[in-house]
Every structure is written in C-alpha cells, then in structure tokens.
C-alpha cells in the first residue's frame, strides 16, 4: 500500500475523531463493486483484496501538499483480519495535519458500521522505538477495525496537509503492488502550472492522462487487476518488484545533488575540540589510509546511532558536525557529516553520499527516496572509496555492499548519480583453517581458526558483539554439533570485535569421542569440516536461506561473499584409508564451489571453496546454487572408509 511513502518522508498528521458509531447502508454501486471484486475462491492465496487504492495529491508552489488516500480492503482470511484490522498512519506532530474522513466496516450484506471513537488511538511509533528513537513527536494514529470479520470490507479515507518536505519542489514514490491483489488503483497529482513534473512507471503499466487547467495541471495514473506478490524468505524489496510510480520536479540528478548539498551548508563545521581530537587521532600516521581509518573508526565506535536528536527536517537536513561530536549520537546523516568535517581537518576531501541499501535505485527520475547516507572519501584525484560510519563494527577500507550500487554525491556544483565499481566476492571471504588428528581410539582433536574479510569479518564481529565472552563459546559449541553430536570445545580464544584495527580471529580447539565408528566389518568417519560446520556464512546464513527447491523472486544476500576451508586430518597409523568422498567442482556463474580431497601418508587434505559472485541471487542463479547443493549433499552423505588391523 502507499503507506510506504508516507513513512519514509515522515509526512505528519493530526487527526480528528469520529464522534459516534454510525450505522447504515452503502450504495448499491459500492456493494456491487465490493462483491464483484472477488472472494477467497477467486483469489485462493490472498488474505485480502484491495478493491480500491486511490491517492490524490495537490501540490503548492512552495512544496506543501494536501494528500487524500482512500482504500477499500476486503478481508478473506483470519490472517487478513489480523493484518488489516489495525490501520496505522504515521506522522510527525509538528509538520502535518491529518483528518480521518471515513473509517468504517462494510459487511457483505451492504450494511456498515463506523469505527467508534474508542478504537482510534494516537500514540508513539513502535517501529522507531526499535531504532532507539523515542521522540514523542513521531507518532501514529491507529484505527482498530476490531469487529471486522472475514468477508467484511474496511473502508478508510484520510487527508493529510503537509508543510514542504522539499522547499519549492516535490518528489514522490508510490508503490501500487503488494502482497494482496489490487482491483482498482488510481493516483492523481495536481501540480501548479509553472512546476514541471517528471514521472516514470516501473514494473508494469498504468494508463496515464494529463489535463491542463487554469492554474494547475492534473496528472492521472490508473491500473486495474494487479496481481499480488508472494512472500518468499529473504526476497528482494517489493520496491524492486512491484508496480510503482516515481514523480519529481527535479529534472536532473545534478539538481538534486545541488539541493542536497545546500542542506549541508554550515553543517560541516569545526571547533577547537574537534581539531584537537582529529590531531590526536591521526598523530604519527603518515599514511593517508591509516588517517582515514583512524577517523572513521572513532566515529563508528564512539558516536551512537540514535534518533533522539530528531528535529526540523532531520531526515534530510543533518545537524552540525560540532553538535553531533558534542552529543556523541546521531542518525546516519549526522555521522556522515561529522566524518566529512573531521576528514577535512585532516586535509582529506570527502563527500556526503546517498545510497539505497536493500533496494535498487531508479535512476530514470531524480527522487529523494534514499535509505541511507554514507561518505565518499577521495583517495586519489576523483577516485573515491565508500565508507559507512553508521556501521559500528566495519573494519574494512570501503564497504563491500556499496559495490555495483548507485550513489549520489551531494555537491554544490551538482553531480550525476553513478554506479560504484563492483567488488568481487574475494573482498568478503571467510577463511577457515583446521588441523585435525584422529587417535588410535578414534578420538578427534582439531585446532580451528576462523577469520574473514569485509562482509564476512563484519558478520563475525557482529556475532561477537551480541554474544560476549563465554556466550560465544556456547554458540560455537551448538554450531559445531554438526561435526558430530557430542563435539565439545576444549579451548577457545575470541578476538575483540571492537578492535577494528586488528584482524578478528577465532581459535578453537575441539574434541569428539568415537569419531571413527565401527559398523560391522567397516570403520567409517566423516571429514570433520566436510559439512562446513565452522563456516558461519554457509552453515548459518546461506544454508538456512536456501531450503526452497526453487524461487520465484531474487534472494537478497546483501553482499557478494564466500569462504575457504582448508583442513588436514591426520589419521593414526592403526587405520588405513581405503576410500573417501569424491572431489568435485561446480563453476556456473555466479556460483563457484570446489570440494577437493587428497590423501597422502594417511593424512586427508581437504580444501573447499565457496563463492557467490552476486549480492542478489536471481531465480536462475538460485537453480545453479541448488545444483551445487545436490553435489555438496552427496559429498556430505559419503564417508571416509578405513581399515584397521586384520579387519577388511
């Protein structure tokens, strides 16, 4: 639904209560519309049908607007009732006014009942609380359609009067497709004649009409019978899949870049404390990279991501760098501006950059819909590396997730949006080394080292942060049961995740009794790391995300990544190795997998490489991954077969 755009730019509402619980009958036409929209037989998999989803926005020259949303939602299932019987309208108290024009439940016999006053509640937003944002002004109006039953239709209409989000400009992103079928949808935007509106419809088609009036031009987009998207684990954002409309008064990205840079004027400041701090951080560091990292790591660690600093236009307009440094907290825009200021003191040029992290950027129309702010640091003339000071535990020089993504530099001269150069999975590889021994009595002893680069390193540090001290030991004991039920950790050593200037490493010494098992006339064992137990990325993340045999939508993996495992398994001379699992290689872009087993002097040399050269795995790539998993599964089902003494 179109609530998305309301939330992202924080359009702000004030509400008006309905005074009483009104009852009545809807018109025959409306009843016909609802009935003919379909039911659970027509839409077997739908929890609800969006019968109507209409939005109308009237924009003024200063960028202020009045927006009306009107939706009719027919509930088909118990889950649909749970989802839609609560409607939320996020707003910020200082910027907007909202009026609820209609909030009623229409029964399938054509009677309706309006929502009683007691079921409309103005409250703070739960979602922002999860981000450490407790600003009382961030609010939502919650309308409970609690008596709605399966078969009923929720009818809700709101109007929102907003102050300008963009001064003298307008930009909007409307998503028309969601996880529910939409029968009719319409967007009307009324613009002053002297403002030009650029637009594009993506991921589908809409009927477009333009009507010129005396002072305003009216643009209309319409679509019918839009099919529902289906939920899939770790799917890409619905924004990348669904029918959407992007409109903007900005003609070029350069214009938007300039506009953004204007918001930063006066914010990239300094004071003696900041200068002193920067000098102390870079003291003795002659190498430019070291100086950049020193400043970056200070901000990552010491400036808390927190939103109680939210005030005027905070999503767009950052605080002064000196303010953020003094307060030691801020949102991404604040942390980026502080980093730019501190780098400037160190004589290093950097730029404020906007990026989308979990969905694609639509470059056709310059719109303000960016999720995140990061910093582009100039390492050579016009050559930038992208760093994210919001990430607390990023040790890398340049974030691998920015590879191949569009970035918009905010620049007073204006810059075009462009695609950052792609990184390979090699930048985010895990590295597991194991030296294992199996004694005469069949006991396994292994020394395992786990470390990683880029995204892999970030995951390891995040786990260490969340599970400090012995908690991590416990976690790994749990994970390593896949080597064998009963495997225990004898000794462990974990790096300190916050020491970003040091390589993060985990050293484990593990033990498993009766690793070689006697099965009748046979002695069997597994290759200890054959199941990639110590490889967090594969065993905990990728494996869990890829249990579906096939996918309809791309799998979002955040970053290209992979891992290497190298293990030597020395087997006591009391045993002879008679057979072992077959090596194999699978190389179908973007998947590369290699399992290699060699035996020499009663020692097994096991090497395993695994790489996914994409951050978004499309269904055809997923099929390849699944092909590779079949080979891996076969390998895992195989054993090392041994011979002992006189037995054969």
């Amino acid at each position: 639904m179109k609530r998305f755009s309301i939330f992202v730019i924080s359009i702000f509402l004030i509400f008006s209560f309905l005074n009483s619980q009104e009852k009545g009958n809807i018109s025959k036409d409306l009843l016909y519309k609802i009935k003919s929209a379909g039911d659970s037989k027509t839409f077997k998999n739908a929890d609800a049908i969006i019968v109507d989803d209409n939005v109308s926005i009237q924009v003024q020259e200063d960028g202020s607007s009045v927006r009306t949303d009107h939706s009719l939602i027919k509930i088909l299932t118990q889950r649909g009732k749970k989802i839609f019987s609560t409607q939320k309208f996020p707003y910020h108290k200082r910027y907007s006014k909202v009026k609820i024009k209609i909030s009623r439940i229409i029964h399938n016999d054509g009677t309706y009942i309006s929502v009683p006053e007691a079921n409309i509640k103005d409250q703070t937003i739960a979602a922002t609380q999860q981000m450490n944002i407790f600003d009382e002004n961030f609010r939502e109006l919650v309308v409970q359609f609690s008596s709605a039953k399966i078969g009923d239709t929720i009818d809700v209409k709101t109007t929102v009067e907003s102050k300008p989000i963009l001064k003298n400009n307008f930009s909007e992103l409307l998503l028309f497709q969601s996880f529910y079928p939409v029968i009719n949808t319409k967007a009307i935007i009324k613009m002053p004649k002297n403002m030009t509106l650029y637009s594009i419809v993506k991921n589908g088609k809409m009927k477009e009409t333009k009507k010129d009036g005396t002072n305003f031009t009216t643009y209309i987009w319409e679509a019918k019978n839009i099919k529902a998207l289906e939920k899939e684990l770790a799917m890409v954002s619905p924004l990348d899949l669904g029918l959407k409309l992007i409109v903007s008064t900005f003609k070029t990205w350069k214009d938007l870049s300039k506009y953004g840079a204007e918001l930063n004027i006066g914010k990239i400041d300094k004071n003696p404390e900041m200068i002193k701090l920067v000098n102390s951080l870079i003291k003795g560091k002659k190498d430019k990279k070291e100086r950049i990292l020193a400043i970056f790591r200070y901000i990552s660690k010491s400036i808390r991501y927190m939103g109680s600093s939210m005030d005027v236009g905070s999503f767009l307009e950052p605080h002064k760098a000196t303010y953020t440094l003094e307060k030691k907290y801020g949102v991404c825009r604040d942390k980026s501006v502080l980093m730019i200021s501190m780098l400037k003191i160190a004589g290093i040029h950097s730029e404020d950059v906007l990026i989308n992290v979990t969905h694609k950027t639509d470059i056709e129309i310059p719109s303000i819909y960016f999720q995140h702010a990061i910093v582009a640091v100039e390492i050579e003339k016009d050559e930038f590396i992208y760093m994210d000071p919001t990430l607390e535990l990023s040790s890398d020089f340049g974030e691998s997730y920015t590879g191949g993504k569009y970035v918009l530099h905010l620049s007073e001269a204006g810059k075009n949006i462009y695609k950052n150069k792609p990184y390979t999975a090699e930048k985010s590889m895990g590295c597991i080394n194991a030296i294992s021994e199996i004694s005469e009595n069949g006991k396994l002893f292994s020394k395992i080292t786990i470390k990683g680069k880029g995204y892999y390193d970030f995951i390891l540090r995040q786990i260490a942060k969340r599970f400090p001290g012995t908690m991590q030991n416990f976690l790994f004991t749990k994970i390593l049961q896949t080597i064998q039920q009963g495997t225990s950790i004898k000794k462990s050593e974990f790096g300190k995740p916050e020491e970003l200037d040091k390589e993060y490493k985990i050293n484990l010494e593990i033990e498993a009794q009766n690793f070689i098992k006697e099965l009748g006339d046979f002695y069997l064992m597994k290759i200890p790391e054959g199941k990639s137990s110590a490889d967090i990325l594969l065993s905990l993340v990728i494996y869990e995300l890829t249990r579906l045999p096939e996918r309809e939508y791309p799998l979002f993996l955040f970053s290209k990544s992979g891992s290497y495992i190298k293990e030597e398994v020395k087997i006591d001379k009391a045993y002879n190795i008679k057979a072992f699992p077959d090596s194999f290689e699978f190389n179908e872009s973007p998947i590369f997998v290699k399992f290699d087993v060699k035996v020499k002097n009663n020692t097994i040399f096991f090497k395993r490489d695994f790489k996914i050269e994409t951050s978004t795995l499309y269904p055809d790539g997923y099929k390849k991954l699944k092909k590779a998993f079949v080979l891996i599964d076969k390998f895992n089902k195989s054993f090392v077969i041994l011979e002992k003494g006189a037995k054969k």
Binding site: K44, N45, D47, T77, Q78, R79, K82, K88, A118, N119, K121, Q123, T124, A126, N132, F134, E136, V143, Q144, S146, E230, R304, M306, S308, K328, E392, K465, R466, P468, G469, T470, M471, F474, T477, K478, L480, Q481, Q484, Q485, T487, E498, N514, K517, L519, G520, D521, F522, L524, K526, L548, P549, A579, K626, V630, D633, K634, K637, S638, F639, I641
Partner: protein
C-alpha cells in the same frame, strides 16, 4: 494546601539526602573497573527498591535506585534506555536523578529531549489500556565502561493496605549489591519467606514504621546454558505479604468476575448465535472457544500490570480485543450464557505455587475451567493454536480457583486422553540409482499439535505448498514434494495429521559395492525432538518443561532383495525419567527401524545429566542412524 507543599519539599529533601549518587557509590564504580565480568552486558553496582506504605495504608511509594555499568557496546544498545512503566491516572512518577557517570567521573544528566513518554509497543491500538505508558529516559552519552544512575519514586494507590510481592535477586547480569526494603506502619504485619540464606534480613523500627531490609551481595549472573530452568526456579527469592489468608482476595476476585461476567442481553445474543445448531456440550464449548481465540484479539499485557479485575464482558465483546483478564471475562460470560458453570483459575509461574502467603504476582496467566463429563476442562483464552483440552503448561500445575466459598487450589491437567506426542511413520521406496519415494504420515498431539498449528495454520495454500517443498528439500537435497494432505487446522477438536509424499535422488550413496544410508531427520520442526543438546556438563538442571514422547518408524523397501551389512544396534533404556528405544530389523526386501524418546519428567537434575547426554549423543549420533547394505 500550605501543609501539602511543605510535606512535598521535605519529601524531596529526604529522598535526595538518602539516595542521590554519593561518594560511596562513586567509589564502588571506581573499584568495579577491575572486576568486569567478560560475558555480561552490564554490571549492576547497586540496585535498591524501597516500598513505603503510608500510615493511612492507601499509598505505596516505590523508591528505586539502579546504578549499573555498561560493559560493552551490546550492553549500551540494550541498557541505555531506561523504561518506567506507569498507569497514567493512578501513578505518580518523580525522577530525582538520571545521569550518566563517565569513566572520568563526569556526571551528565539526561537531556530533556531524551525524556519521552511512549505507548508500550504491545499495547498499540488498545484504547482500553491506554492508561498504561512507559516513561523512557535515554542516556545518550553513555559508552562502554560508563555507568547509568537512575533514581526515581513511583507512588501507587493500594487497597486496604495490602502489599505483597515475589522478588528475584538473581538475573542475567551480575550484581555487586541488591537490597529490597519494605516500610510498613507499626500496626501492620508482614509475613515473608526467603529461599536462600544468602539473602540477609534485618528488621528495624523507626518512628511509626517497621522497616524490613533484605540484602544480597556479589550475586553472579545466570550462566548461559541451553534449556535452563526459568529464573524463578533458579534465583534466590523473597516472598512477602501482609496477608496469609487467601479468602479475602479470592472473595474480591470472585465478586468482580461474577459481576463482570454476568451475561447481559448482548452476551446472551452472541452466545445464542455461536452455539445455535450445536447439540453436544463439547460442540458448544468449541464454538465459544473458537470465537474467543480467533475473533477476540489478544493484547499482551502482563497479568497484574493493570490489576487483576477484568472489564465487563460485554465491553470486551464490543471492543473485540482484550488482555488475559478480559478475554477470560468474555469467555466465562459466554459459557455462562450457554448454561455452563465456568470459573477462572489463576495459573502460577511454577508447578507448585506459593500457598502460604498471599502473593498475586506469582500468577502469570488465567485459564477458564469448565466442568464437563465429570472432568474439569481447562481453556486458555489465548490458546489460538491449541487443541481444546490442551493448555501449554506442565500437567499437574496447581492453580487458584476463583469460586465462591473457601479458596481452592486445583490441579490443571489436559482433558481426557491428550498427551504431548509426535508420531511419524515414514515409508521409503528405494529405487534404482539411489532414487526414492517417501510416504510420510505424521500424527501430533498436545504440544506438538500446538506448534504445528502455530507454524502452518495461517499459511495460504501457496505458502503451505512452499512449506512442504522446503520440507522435502530438508529431508534430502534436491527432493520434490509430490503432494500433501493436512487435517483441518481450524478444528480444535481434532489433532493435526499430515500425509506427505516426496520423491528424489541421492537418498543414499554407493561407495564401492556398499550402499550407505544415514536416516535424515524428520523434516518438520513440529514433529522432531524439541531439544538438541550440545553441552557436555551443566550448571543447572536440564529443563524440559513438559513430559512428551517423540516416535519415528521407518520402513525402507527395495524392489530388489537387500542384504544388510550393518544395522544400528537395538537399544532399550527405560527408567522413571526417560526412555530411549531403537529397534532395527530386516526382512526380505525391507528394513524396519523404530526410534522413540519419552521424557517423563519436567526437569533432569545435574547429577543425572551426563548419563542422559551420553545416551542422547549415541542415539542422535550418525552411527545409530546409518545402515550399510548391498542390493542384489
């Protein structure tokens, strides 16, 4: 008026004098630099609560000091926002000091914009409980190794001078010192019980007050451990109450529930509508149960936070939502309208409740009991995914029945033959080149039935299809789900049954002439053994929380004759707390394996863990699931 102002000023002075961050606390903070526990998020230097019941026994002041050091950045994320829950119209909050104590001892008070009053996330949209709010203090300046200092007073009205509580001294973070004080007028009695000698008790008299102080020092955090008993089993605790007689409170609760659940015309109409055409008593109860659990939205408000008295049943019916008190109220009222004789049962957080002292905060939920066919049928008003007659607590838990007359404790059992049992029968047809067909039948009851319903009942047909496709893939990589049938998950009277057909390849591997097959795990989370043990030794008993049985039967058939080279050894270990059973046998062209685990106790003592774990490791090790065979 003048008198009140003077009193307030004095009160504030006293509080400040008594509790503002002082040199002693600062010294403790400095000393704590050397004793930072590595696997905690915070280190609680000082925690103090003082309950003062005023002389007219109408107001209870709760004076709180929390002083804790943040140990790492995860601790900062979790503990730098301090929440005080309060009832807007009844409670008064007075925050005396809220500051960050930096490593260098600089004190930074919380800024005004870091102080916000918010609606608790779990109460969103529920206007009926809009009086319950959280005051949040965000300690923006806190960093690892800094400390948070919070000192506030909350005033709450009390009825008839009754105060009682259960106080746990141990938690998930270590504490240097914790004390709990109760100040009551001299003419009032306070009864208490301590679970541990480590809690020191002191009783003083001061002016017209008796002052009870309980203190414990150097309290370690709970050790991280899988399947640990709940904290109320492990922590040293104090229970106190001004009453030993349950009659008064039960009578009041009875009167309130009786008054609020008396069916009015709206309730009667709804009950008639719900049970029309139903002839059997169970059928009528089922209809009402379904309405309460599916159509009345559950609001997660912990029992007691808004008191124990319910709202009027018809009000809940009009709102279509309610917390556990209110859903109970509506359920009782509808059952009464349908001519049943239901009553509420307060359910404690332990199997054996504290009966000697009247302490209400030991109760975590409310069930409704209905006499049916000579038994008591217990109903969980929040049991959206439960078979009628099953409630998700250990059988035999004693609950407090709210009935007219003498207080009565009743044992809560599942109705009739319901047991926690998962039974899976898997028939595998082994074809050429390691291809296979699997026919899986699952029969679930009690706890397993509940988690199956929770997992799949709301899924659409497509999502169910995907779930079973995924399960086929979990069973063996690359396998396909051919078809599935599911019993009606909306029918709370019938247990969950599933039939699933799968086909695939590489069910076993051939190495040389030998075929090796390791039986996969049952591919549904709800039919598998719900515990995976990894720890070699334990610090605490192993907590199962329920008695249950998981049974699997595998029937592997081949179109050729099979020569078994190795079958898992038979196993039969049976004692009063658990049993493990495995039997493998071969016939002309088939191998049959039966495996089961029965847990007959809620908790296994530490001393018995090693033996259990050795059997468990053996039972779940691949050797007990691997077969070697040759096909002719």
């Amino acid at each position: 008026m003048k008198k009140r102002i003077i009193f307030s000023i004095l009160f504030i002075c006293l509080i400040n004098f008594a509790f503002s961050i002082d040199d002693n606390l600062i010294k403790k903070f400095k000393d704590s630099q050397t004793m930072i526990p590595p696997d905690s998020y915070t280190y609680i230097i000082y925690s103090s609560k003082t309950l003062t019941l005023n002389q007219d026994k109408k107001i209870l002041k709760n004076e709180v000091i929390d002083f804790y050091k943040i140990i790492n950045s995860a601790g900062r994320d979790m503990f730098s926002d301090y929440r005080i829950r309060f009832k807007e119209e009844k409670d008064k909050i007075n925050v005396l000091e809220a500051l960050t104590l930096k490593k260098d001892l600089l004190k930074i008070p919380v800024e005004n914009k870091g102080i916000n009053t918010i609606t608790p996330a779990e109460l969103k949209g529920a206007s009926l409980y809009s009086n319950i709010l959280d005051k949040v203090y965000s300690f923006q300046n806190v960093e690892p190794y800094d400390a948070v200092f919070m000192n506030y007073v909350k005033e709450t009205p009390v009825i008839d001078g009754f105060i009682a509580s259960k106080v746990l001294f141990q938690g998930e973070n270590p504490k240097l010192s914790m004390n709990f004080r109760v100040k009551i007028p001299q003419n009032l009695s306070l009864f208490n019980k301590l679970s541990s000698k480590k809690i020191e008790q002191k009783i003083d008299k001061h002016e017209n007050y008796k002052i009870y102080t309980w203190e414990m020092k150097d309290i370690p955090k709970f050790k991280i451990e899988e399947y640990r008993p709940p904290s109320n089993y492990l922590s040293p605790y104090l229970i106190f109450s001004t009453s030993k007689d349950w009659s008064n409170i039960v009578t009041k609760l009875y009167n309130e529930f009786h008054k609020k659940t008396k069916p009015d015309s709206l309730i009667k109409k709804k009950a008639r509508e719900l049970i029309k055409e139903e002839k059997s008593d169970k059928g009528k109860i089922l209809k009402i149960y379904k309405f309460i659990t599916k159509d009345i939205k559950k609001i997660t408000l912990p029992l007691g936070q808004d008191g124990y008295y319910p709202h009027k049943a018809s009000k809940v019916l009009k709102n279509f939502y309610g917390d556990i008190r209110d859903k109970s109220s509506l359920l009782i009222s509808l059952l009464k309208a349908a001519k049943f004789k239901p009553f509420p049962v307060f359910v404690p957080d332990a199997k054996t409740p504290e009966k000697e002292l009247v302490v209400m905060d030991q109760f975590k939920t409310i069930f409704v009991a209905v006499p049916l066919n000579g038994e008591l049928l217990f109903i969980n008003p929040n049991g959206e995914n439960e078979q009628l007659g099953y409630v998700n607590i250990p059988e035999g838990t004693e609950g407090l029945a709210i009935k007219q007359g003498k207080p009565e404790w009743v044992k809560i059992n599942y109705y009739k033959n319901i047991k926690n049992r998962a039974c899976t029968e898997i028939k595998i047809e082994m074809l050429q080149n390691a291809l296979y067909n699997a026919d899986i039948n699952v029969n679930l009851n009690g706890y397993f039935d509940k988690i199956a319903r929770e997992g799949i009942s709301l899924k659409s047909e497509n999502e169910k299809e995907k779930f079973f496709s995924k399960s086929a893939n979990v069973f063996s990589e690359g396998s396909k789900s051919i078809s599935y049938t599911l019993s009606n998950l909306n029918d709370s009277n019938k247990n969950v049954k599933i039939n699933h057909l799968i086909k695939g390849s590489t069910f076993f591997v051939k190495q040389g002439k030998v075929s090796i097959l390791t039986l996969p795990e049952v591919p549904y989370f709800f039919a598998d053994f719900p515990f995976r043990l990894s720890l070699k030794t334990r610090n605490y008993p192993l907590y199962f929380g329920k008695k249950f049985e998981v049974y699997e039967k595998w029937n592997l058939e081949s179109d050729k004759n099979i020569k078994a080279l190795y079958l898992p050894d038979n196993l039969n270990i049976d004692n009063e707390k658990y049993s493990f059973y495995l039997k493998a046998k071969t016939e002309a062209n088939s191998i049959v394996i039966e495996r089961s685990i029965k847990i007959k106790t809620l908790m296994l003592p530490i001393s018995e863990y090693k033996k259990f774990k050795d059997i468990f490791d053996k039972f779940y090790g691949w050797k007990m699931k691997t077969l070697l065979f040759e096909e002719e």
